[in-house]
């Protein structure tokens, strides 16, 4: 069913229809000189209308990648373009507005304000933007995530999976250019996780949205069109139309590289390093 596409396809420096473009991004934490680089000259582009999973061992820089791509943190050097806008040129207020209008977020947990009902949580970005939510659009979004009958519930009255679906609805309501997910299924059981991933898949396939998801779970990554692997703040490779088995293999190899001698990861090592696009 899936084909492994480990081709070192030399994609151009700027893709034709890329929603997110990171160019030579470095992010160094700590003081100059003694700091550690979480991202070390990362260059990557994410095409519109795709579902991308970002994977890598702990400390590979995948969270930092997400924060930089979404404008939550500023890179130390390099540039980030989102939907054609250079984030480096924006002030805090403009960045906030951009997040509100063109980015949707789904976090691992604590996605919702406990004080607000489902509808209020979903319409929060619109309210913050000073826009009156369109009833029809809100109803449609809630319908899509399957929570049309939970409009007046509060987060505490919902299951974990339902809460994540509310978060997806909130991410969808502004019709953003891209939706970022930070381990969106990390706190869910298998059944709920499957529902949420299927929903994200559907958002890409049917609504034509772009989704970027950081995860450590090979099963979750298999829902994506493509998996990008990070290691030590650099791209270590990618898989098109991944299966969970192939992803798991990759992850084992990546971990092996970092701790040589722990398992026989060296076997496929040569394949990994060339993986760049």
């Amino acid at each position: 069913m899936t084909q492994v596409a480990e081709s070192a396809s030399g994609s151009p420096a700027t893709g034709p229809d890329e929603v997110v473009r990171l160019q030579a991004v470095r992010k160094v934490y700590g003081g100059p000189g003694r700091g550690t680089a979480a991202l070390d000259g990362l260059t990557v582009g994410l095409p519109r209308g795709t579902f991308t999973a970002v994977m890598g061992p702990s400390g590979s820089g995948k969270s930092t990648f997400l924060h930089c791509a979404a404008g939550l943190e500023r890179p130390t050097s390099g540039s980030v373009r989102l939907d054609g806008t250079d984030l480096g040129a924006l002030g805090e207020r403009a960045l906030t507005r951009l997040r509100r209008d063109r980015i949707g977020f789904v976090f691992q947990a604590f996605n919702l304000l406990p004080a607000l009902t489902v509808v209020d949580n979903v319409t929060l970005p619109l309210r913050l933007a000073g826009r009156r939510p369109d009833r029809g659009a809100v109803a449609e979004v809630l319908e899509r995530v399957g929570l049309a009958d939970r409009r007046r519930h509060r987060p505490a009255e919902l299951s974990g999976g339902q809460q994540q679906r509310v978060a997806i609805a909130r991410a969808l309501v502004t019709r953003p250019a891209v939706i970022f997910g930070d381990e969106p299924t990390g706190a869910l059981d298998t059944g709920n996780a499957r529902e949420v991933l299927a929903l994200l898949r559907e958002v890409v396939a049917e609504a034509g949205r772009t989704v970027v998801m950081v995860t450590h779970d090979p099963v979750a990554a298999a829902y994506a069109d493509r998996v990008v692997f990070l290691s030590d703040g650099r791209i270590a490779g990618s898989l098109n139309r991944p299966t969970s088995e192939r992803v798991a293999e990759w992850m084992t190899r990546l971990r092996g590289e970092r701790t040589p001698g722990e398992d026989g990861a060296g076997a496929a090592g040569g394949e990994t390093v060339r993986e760049l696009w």
């Binding site: 805090e92 976090f107 929060l124």
Partner: protein, 839 residues
């Protein structure tokens, strides 16, 4: 946004309760102070004894033409002849003159006030039995006094004792009526009366009569009173002490408002930190820093409006209660009425709302800086950023504190506290702003010793403190505020008391002091006592307050009301009437120029500080305590500690211008080798009603008088410190409540409840110690300069046990407010605590 604010408030009701309580109590106090202030401005005293006369004419207590409209300390008397003058006016049915003097029965019983019989109709007091006093030697007593018509009673009055026949009994209590002539003699100021009640003729226009009376007395130092003002005639203290109420209420209100800012800001800051994740989520999904700020300010203002609205109900009662408490202590006259219209309420509400707004902006500033990434972090890591604005503002306050400290050190002893009180607040504000730096330094210093005695729990606690500086600061600051205010204000009082006592004792050279139960001693008694065997010297001691009249006011009496900003400000100066022959042996007053022996007739000895333009032999224009002018020849200058400048006058010259008209006290120096106790007994037995006390007792008596003044300050202090203590408890409860999840994790990691409690106990000790240390710093910054001014040394007066008590109270409150909520949190199953996202 308002909708979101409302829902947030409802949801986080528990977390906001503390801030609500802080705002509510603060607003109650501020509104109460507004009421006190207005009462001081109105100085209304519904008449009791003069109630029957619609118009009361009395002395005008104000020193017109001075910048601040000084108020004379003694009753300004009226000429008795004025009564007849006013009775002749059209529309006046009659007048009744009133005099008052203290009377005591020789057979025990409470103090009575003596009056002439003609003023009985002012009350009105009606005879129940018997007849009015028809001449000398007759008295009318209250019906409940136990005496019967025809009895003979001994009365101490006018400095002597005499026997009187009870001619009748009246209703009411507390007043004894004598024949008018005798009453006039007993006041010591014959020919003068205190006030005159004016009765209008039936059918006369009261307003027209009032105008006619006012016109008749125009140009004289006379006030015409109607309505609730008439009470001022009964007790001139309503004017002077009512006026004292204004700055007191203003200072108290200001202090409360500032303490409220700290209290509310601390509790708000903690409850907002508790929701840091929510705020970060808001930021991540698109709330700008401005929106977060508006959200926090909006929530706080909603809360503040509710809290302040509610505070309008008990506020006036608190003001009334405070006034009653002041009156009870004798600090203000009991007749002074509580008068608070809508102005203090509105002013109090505005102050309270502004206070809340200030606190909200401080809290919102931090919230708005929340980074959206914090929503993604599993355990929120505290950002250590610390605004430059805050540091600059903090340093600014510290600089201001230093300026005030140097001003305090340079000020006159009695004035120093007036500068030291605001200095306390400025230092507190500076320390609060620089709190994180201060707290980090203090905890770093305490870490090692604490660990050494507390083992692993101590290790955990100090690590928590190091990682969570902001939370720790939020917990420490209220402790600092409470401890700092308590220490600074309490020691300020004790230092002043000690300073006043030292000045008093330094000035006293007498071995004994003679007083009388009969309201005072006749002036002739001084010579009699001086001739008593064993007595080396005796001097009268008559105290009053007066002024050197500025040249601008030397002309006719000014009636233009407030003299305004440019008007002269003559310093109020203590006046002491003495006997030239005994003054140097009974007091420490020494002439630095001229001679005190020359204090006879119309003479004065001025303190060097104010003698300035005058030479010995010059005539000095002065205003005495009752507002009368006196041209006195300068015969000597005397030295005095700054702020305790005293002018000396011959007792005979000063006496007619005091309320009592009698010598309140005669200082006695014993011959060397005389048994003082025996001399005291001999003096006391020489005349009925005499008492002789030694120096120690005298000092104690003076201290008791001082305590009445101090009592107001103590009450104010108790309210402010009480409020700060509530803020302390609030803050600890919130700071502990935030840690439900952390406790759960510790429990899951195998910590027993006892171990978690131990950790929290060590943290509480750390918080209390850091808070008391910082508070001590604030207090020291205030008290050292004050002590330098008042006591000429850096160590403040007062027992070190006060420090121990404050530290113990701070520790006890912090421990209780930390451990009780911790205990409650530990009841939950550890798993549930970790799973729950909100506590």
């Amino acid at each position: 946004m308002i909708g979101i604010s409302l829902r947030m408030l409802r949801f986080h009701a528990g977390g906001f309760l503390a801030a609500f309580v802080a705002m509510f109590l603060g607003a109650v106090i501020v509104i109460g102070c507004g009421g006190l202030l207005e009462s001081g401005i109105h100085r209304a005293a519904p008449p009791q004894r003069l109630g029957a006369a619609p118009i009361v004419v009395t002395g005008d207590q104000r020193y017109h033409g001075t910048a601040s409209d000084e108020v004379f300390a003694e009753r300004v008397p009226l000429d008795a002849g004025l009564a007849g003058e006013l009775a002749a006016l059209p529309g006046v049915a009659g007048t009744a003159a009133d005099v008052s003097f203290p009377v005591r029965r020789t057979d025990g019983g409470g103090e009575l006030t003596g009056h002439g019989w003609s003023s009985a109709r002012l009350a009105p007091a009606a005879l129940v039995q018997g007849a009015a006093p028809s001449g000398d030697g007759e008295v009318v007593l209250p019906a409940g006094s136990g005496a019967a018509v025809g009895d003979t009673v001994g009365l101490l009055a006018g400095g002597g004792a005499a026997r009187y026949r009870v001619s009748g009994l009246v209703d009411g209590a507390g007043a004894a009526y004598l024949a008018d002539a005798e009453a006039g003699r007993l006041t010591g100021r014959p020919g003068k009366v205190d006030s005159i009640g004016v009765f209008t003729a039936p059918g006369a226009d009261a307003a027209a009569v009032e105008r006619a009376v006012a016109a008749a007395v125009d140009g004289r130092q006379v006030a015409v009173l109607t309505g609730d003002e008439r009470g001022r005639a009964e007790d001139p203290g309503v004017m002077s002490e009512g006026e004292d109420l204004i700055p007191l209420a203003a200072a108290f209100g200001g202090l409360s408002a500032m303490v409220t800012v700290f209290g509310v800001a601390a509790t708000l800051g903690l409850s907002i930190r508790r929701r840091a994740r929510e705020t970060a989520l808001l930021r991540a999904v698109g709330a700008t820093p401005g929106q977060v700020r508006r959200l926090v300010v909006g929530e706080t203002m909603l809360l503040a409006v509710a809290a302040t609205g509610l505070a309008c109900l008990p506020g006036p009662y608190v003001g009334r209660w405070l006034l009653a408490a002041f009156a009870e202590a004798g600090a203000v006259p009991e007749t002074l009425a509580y008068r608070a219209g809508s102005v203090p309420l509105a002013a109090g509400v505005c102050t309270a709302l502004l206070t809340a707004l200030g606190a909200a902006f401080a809290a919102a500033h931090g919230a708005a800086r929340t980074r959206p990434v914090e929503a993604l972090a599993e355990a929120s890591v505290e950002s250590r950023r610390f605004g430059a604005v805050r540091i600059v503002a903090g340093l600014g306050f510290v600089a201001g504190g230093m300026v005030l400290a140097s001003a305090t050190a340079k000020a006159d002893g009695p004035d120093a506290a007036g500068i030291a009180t605001p200095a306390t607040l400025v230092w507190t504000a500076g320390c609060a702003l620089l709190g994180p730096v201060l707290v980090t330094a203090v905890t770093a210093a305490l870490r090692r010793p604490l660990r050494a005695v507390t083992g692993y729990a101590g290790h955990l606690a100090t690590e928590n403190a190091r990682a969570r500086t902001a939370r720790l600061t939020g917990a420490v600051l209220p402790v600092m505020l409470a401890a700092g205010l308590a220490l600074a204000l309490v020691y300020m009082q004790t230092t002043q008391t000690k300073g006043a006592r030292e000045v008093f004792e330094d000035g006293l050279r007498a071995d004994l002091a003679v007083t009388s139960a009969a309201g005072g001693l006749p002036p002739a008694m001084v010579d009699e006592i001086a001739r008593h065997p064993g007595v080396a010297a005796a001097s009268a001691q008559v105290t009053s307050t007066g002024y050197i009249e500025p040249a601008e006011l030397a002309g006719p009496l000014v009636h233009a009301g407030d003299g305004g900003e440019g008007a002269p400000r003559p310093p109020a100066m203590a006046l002491v009437g003495v006997t030239a022959a005994g003054v140097e042996r009974t007091t420490a007053f020494r002439a630095t120029g001229g001679s005190l022996d020359a204090l006879e007739g119309a003479t004065v000895a001025l303190p060097e500080r104010y003698a300035g333009p005058y030479e010995i032999g010059d005539t000095v224009p002065m205003r005495l305590g009752d507002g009368s002018r006196a041209a006195l020849e300068l015969v000597a200058t005397v030295d005095a500690p700054p702020g305790y400048e005293t002018a000396l006058l011959p007792a005979a010259r000063l006496l007619p211008h005091t309320d009592g008209g009698l010598v309140p006290q005669i200082l006695v120096a014993a011959e060397p080798g005389t048994d003082r106790a025996r001399l005291a007994r001999a003096l006391a037995e020489s005349h009925p009603g005499l008492r002789a006390v030694d120096r120690g007792t005298l000092s104690e008596l003076r201290a008791e008088r001082d305590d009445t003044q101090a009592w107001m300050a103590w009450l104010v202090l108790a309210v402010v410190v009480g409020y700060a203590a509530i803020a302390l408890v609030n803050a600890q409860i919130i700071a502990t409540g935030e840690r439900r999840r952390e406790f759960g994790l510790l429990r899951l990691a195998g910590a027993a409840r006892r171990q978690v409690l131990q950790m929290m106990a060590v943290e509480a000790v750390l918080v209390a110690a850091a808070g008391v240390a910082a508070g001590l710093l604030v207090a020291a910054a205030t008290l050292v300069p004050l002590s330098l001014s008042v006591l000429d040394g850096p160590v403040p007066g007062g027992s070190p046990w006060i420090l121990a008590a404050v530290a113990a109270a701070a520790l006890g409150l912090t421990l209780a407010a930390t451990l009780l909520p911790a205990l409650a949190l530990l009841r939950a199953r550890p798993g549930a605590a970790v799973a729950g996202e909100r506590g």
